[in-house]
Amino acid sequence: MSDTAEKVKKIVVEHLGVEESKVTTDASFIDDLGADSLDTVELVMAFEEAFAIEIPDDAAEKITTVKDAIDFIEKAKA
């Protein structure tokens, strides 16, 4: 697993208070991990801070799974 993936999963675990084993790459924040819309906004803010990137609103809307987040961040940092 890449560093980014590991860091993303850690943030998700911390923010949503879910078990690490549930945070699979394909897990959807809302459908699988019980996040609400406010949680997803907070998650995006947390990613922005942790990775020192900016996630525009239209991109943020498309980040619905752990994989979406990892892909976006890896692309943004590349």
Binding site: D36, L38, E42, M45
Partner: protein, 248 residues
Amino acid sequence: MTALFRLDGKAALVTGATGGIGAAIARALHAQGARVALTGRRESELAALAAELGEGAFVLPADLTDPEAPAALIERMEAELGACDILVNNAGMTRDGLALRMGDKDWADVLEVDLTAPFRLARASLRGMMKRRSGRIISIASIVGVTGNAGQANYAAAKAGLIGMSKALAQEVAPRGVTVNVVAPGFVATAMTDVLNDTQKAGLMGRIPLGRMGQPEDIAAAVVYLASPQAGWVTGATIHVNGGMAMI
């Protein structure tokens, strides 16, 4: 029993702190133990108030008509005196005139200062508040935002807007322990109401059951309550402080 309404260890930002009500709010929050950031456009008056309050008062001049100012202000506050626990949107302006003769600029300027700037400040301060799972946003609206007032279409719209905005924000951030409330003053003796002539003032007095104009301290007391830990179960509310002029 612990003392009620104490704000020790909290930091508050008060906009429009040079005005009558704003200064009274800053004094009252400070007296309860909060550190206060005083914001306004007249730096010398802010400095005089800070000197009067002494330790725990900070001068942060800002021109809230600048769209970038609110976010920068919250950032500066966090750097100089710590996280913003309490935001008091008090700054406001009037530019009265009958609607038939009210220019677009008079409408837009009042909406910008009285409604848009408070929204931007709320948005900027919410980020930290949500993270900390606590915070208080208190906006000073006006009785005319609920009752209307001839000659104040712009001001009444902005103040009514503050009430609606606060209710929406309150619902959004309640799960994070942040409360959003409004204080709606009636006619308070300040520079803003000094412009009324004696006949207007006498007319007003006849409509205030408690028989006097409000004092800035009457408004500040309501703000202190909403800012305090004791108001933790109050959100989306509007407290009317108007001498009974409108019982709503």
